[in-house]
């Protein structure tokens, strides 16, 4: 029976991986990802989970080992964060380019220097173009659910792509909250066994990861991009079926109180919940504001975003990462460019904040919405504004 338990989100993530019956876990510890992999190694040690746990010597090797194990057809999970993901950066491209569906939980955290163990989305944005399917989760339940979905999506023959589940470091990973943990039988119904179509097998030798001369590389990349873009169908299908079985439905963008909203705020991850409270308070005061919680980051949900903002006058995008010397927040600049070709589009105002664990309160989000509205009406848009910085 489904159980509602008070559990740390990291533990729920580990339990999801266990319920997915992973064959291999290869991981290297980094705060705030540690509880996830500690739990998995404990499950392996106790026999609760029949998997090989590879305690690698670096994140580079963690992801590299994952490539090897997926290539022989083993369901493979890892987790990392921040500098760890930076260290595995080049390997991430290989996972997607070679179409090896690793599932990775990313405990989002800021990047050095200065060193910060706390949360923001700098690490996510630095791997934006690695060709992975990337999903942000808002709370522990979404984290648990989407780990299960990640295996289903990534391993689908139409996708065969690696998947990252982004959960905010500490603000999600270290919080104990009520989460519905699902039954093994139901999970098995949702998640078929992994069969890689062309595994490394002496009975049918294949060459994986061959050298791509100029006359073929472009075609390989085109094929990869088409697969990632069209994986949205696989994602929507998986989320639909997940909802049908477990009663919780997900969508690329969650529209919260958007009915008739003239001003929309867009956020991702755990901050979206805080922002929802700000929207509630402003709605109570009679303001027509709503929230767009962006869940699907790659493939980028162009159609859903265009649809969601079609009636709005102002779109305020809140980023937790900074593109130095560039357009400010990566999400804002992508959204802006997605709307550029539309005849009718809202004014887009960007804010960057919540860096390195800095909290943005309910009042803070209210201020962001109000200030964004003012900037839009005054026509004083700049590339972006940093929120909450001391001057």
């Amino acid at each position: 029976m489904t159980q509602r338990v008070g559990i740390e989100v990291s533990r729920a993530v580990a339990i999801a991986a266990k319920l997915a019956n992973v064959d291999v876990v290869a991981a290297y510890p980094i705060t705030p990802q540690t509880h996830i992999v500690e739990d998995l190694s404990e499950m392996v040690a106790s026999g609760e989970l029949d998997a090989s746990y590879i305690p690698v010597e670096s994140e580079h090797s963690a992801m590299s080992s994952c490539l090897g194990s997926v290539a022989v057809g083993a369901r493979t999970f890892t987790a990392t964060s921040s500098q760890g993901m930076e260290l595995m950066h080049e390997v991430l491209y290989v996972a997607s380019g070679m179409r090896l569906p690793v599932v990775m939980a990313v405990a989002n955290r800021a990047l050095s220097a200065p060193i910060s163990i706390w949360g923001d989305h700098s690490d996510v944005m630095s791997v934006r173009d690695t060709g992975w399917i990337q999903i942000f989760v808002t709370n522990g339940q979404e984290a648990f659910d989407n780990i299960l979905c990640a295996f289903r999506i990534g391993e689908d023959r139409r996708a065969l792509l690696p998947v990252m589940i982004h959960l905010d470091g500490f603000q999600l990973t270290h919080v104990i909250e009520p989460i519905y943990l699902e039954e093994q039988g139901d999970v098995d119904r949702f998640l078929p066994r992994f069969e890689y179509p062309l595994p490394l097998d002496p009975d049918k030798p294949v060459t994986m990861g061959a050298f791509g001369p100029p006359d073929i590389y472009t075609e390989v990349k085109k094929a990869q991009d088409v697969v990632l873009t069209s994986s949205k169908e696989v994602i929507l299908e998986a989320w639909k079926e997940f909802g049908d079985i477990f009663g919780r439905y997900y969508s690329p963008i969650q529209c919260y109180r958007c009915e008739g909203a003239k001003v929309l705020l867009m956020t991702m991850g755990s901050f979206s919940e805080t922002a929802m409270s700000a929207v509630d308070a402003m709605r109570d005061d009679g303001h027509a504001v709503g929230l767009l919680n962006l869940r699907l980051w790659r493939p980028f949900p162009f159609a859903e975003i265009r649809q969601a903002v079609k009636d709005a006058d102002v779109l305020v995008v809140f980023d937790r990462a900074l593109s130095f010397g560039g357009p400010g927040g990566p999400v804002c600049s992508e959204v802006r460019s997605a709307l550029y070709s539309l005849d009718k589009r809202p004014k887009v105002v960007g804010f960057v904040g919540g860096l390195g664990g800095r909290v943005v309160s309910i009042a803070g989000f209210r201020e962001i919405i109000e200030r964004g509205t003012r900037i839009a009406s005054e026509g004083t848009e700049q590339e972006f504004e940093m929120f909450g910085v001391r001057e």
Binding site: G6, E177, P178, E273, T274, I362
Partner: protein
């Protein structure tokens, strides 16, 4: 006693290794098992054993909890080691109708005289109780009992299952410690 309707925010002060985080976790689990919404988390830092640490619990009987920030204005403050009173401003942001729950062999009057607290105060000699029931001065479970005496955010019985799950064969001793502390806690109203 603190009002337990709606959202209650509790902040725990201890030293690394004393189990403040465990206390917070157990309490949240008990509330969740009662069907409530709850959230527990440590201060997100790199504290090492021995250093002052903080943990937080939010409990809401009606609504999901969406706030994920640390608690700056708690309803209840629980202090696992009274020596912290001199080191840390444990009452920082404590609401006017809030309560402090302190592990100390001293009486509430003595504490107030020393620190001039203007809040309601619950005191318990949790260290003695822990020594007597557990054989070691680990006060995390005892202080959960003390808290519940001071503010009935969950039923005392609701802690039994989380304690069993957490402590296994040592569960009975911890349940005993919690109950002894519950009984041994003196609550003194707000002073003026």
């Amino acid at each position: 006693m603190t009002n337990t309707a709606g959202l209650v925010e509790i902040r725990w002060h201890g030293r690394g290794g004393q189990g403040a985080v465990t206390s917070a976790e157990l309490l949240a689990q008990a509330a969740i098992n009662e069907g409530k919404y709850a959230q527990a988390f440590p201060a997100f830092g790199a504290e090492r054993r021995g250093a002052p640490v903080v943990a937080f619990v939010r409990i809401d009987s009606d609504n999901p909890i969406r706030v994920r920030a640390e608690i700056d204005e708690p309803d209840v403050v629980v202090v696992l080691a009274s020596d912290l009173l001199r080191v840390v401003n444990v009452s920082s942001g404590l609401k006017a109708d809030g309560i402090l729950v302190i592990n100390t062999p001293k009486t509430a009057d003595e504490i107030i005289k020393e620190f001039h607290y203007k809040w309601a105060l619950a005191t318990v000699d949790a260290t003695r109780i822990a020594r007597e029931t557990l054989g070691v001065p680990i006060v995390n479970t005892a202080m959960v009992g003390a808290l519940l005496k001071a503010a009935e955010v969950t039923k005392l019985d609701s802690l039994i299952e989380p304690l069993k799950h957490r402590f296994g064969r040592l569960a009975d001793k911890n349940i005993n410690a919690m109950q002894k502390a519950y009984e041994g806690t003196t609550v003194r109203g707000k002073s003026n």
